[in-house]
């Protein structure tokens, strides 16, 4: 499914904030810099769509109250 330009622009704006001196490892897609990630999002290819999915999941998880989720906090598990 084609991603709307509005969402692409939003994700690019978010990715711009990533540190420039780090690389992201995405499975067998290899290691990518911030600029490479942004290029993939602009192209709306497989890696770009993955980045968009992560952003959307993050926004959704905030709406669902992710920061209030309860997991076992025991240090002994």
């Amino acid at each position: 499914m084609e991603t709307t330009q509005e969402i692409i622009d939003l994700v690019i704006a978010r990715l711009q904030n990533l540190p420039s001196n780090k690389e992201i490892s995405i499975g067998s897609s290899g290691e990518l810099t911030k600029d490479e990630l942004i290029e993939h999002v602009k192209k709306d290819d497989e890696i770009g769509k993955k980045m968009i999915a992560i952003e959307m999941d993050f926004l959704r998880s905030m709406k669902e109250g992710i920061f209030y989720e309860q997991y076992s906090t025991s240090n002994h598990s």
């Binding site: 499975g27 290899g30 993050f58 992710i66 920061f67 997991y71 025991s74």
Partner: protein
Amino acid sequence: MSNTVLVTIPSSDPTTRYISAWAQRTVKELESKRLKFIVLLKERATASIFDSMLKKHNPSLVFLNGHGGPDLVCGHNEEILLQAGKNEMALKGTVTYALSCSSAKVLGPAAVKAGVSAYIGYNEDFIFFRSPEKVNRPIEDKTAEMFLAPANHVVVSLAKGHTAGEATTATKGYFFRGIQKLISSESTKDDREYLRYMIWDMRSLVCQGNQNAVVTGK
């Protein structure tokens, strides 16, 4: 129940080099405990050796590190070790943890159907950030640690005698504590950018099959 853990540690590109370094550290930390670790390192992480070791040692825990996909997990140089519809039955009776992308989508459920006690893995790509200057010293990479330390906690928790379900919850808890730390004022602006990726990994981690399966007694 055997007290053996079979571990695959391929190392053929920066991603596998990183996850391998962290897996080796985990094995080293747990070696003196009650479990016996059989490590298939680098060129030994091949399909034929993996299959042979599974049959010979009948491990209670299989710890897979490497590239993966919805229906498969790879070893060294991306050689396929396990693939749904081909050899998932080789995991029968084990608790298996795959630190690998997406394998809980298809391979995990197929393995459960074939008799694996529990399959712990990720139903999406496992993502982590790293510092390129630390490529030869992955353990010193504090950025990668935020992702790889919690990811290795599954094995630490299982080694303490916790059930597969408890180990999964404890690992999500480890991720969650890291996430809480990032949203606190102690963290840097740069570090806070990793939040969504840590949440992604945490949410992708699943335990399939028998939640009460164990690999060793408490």
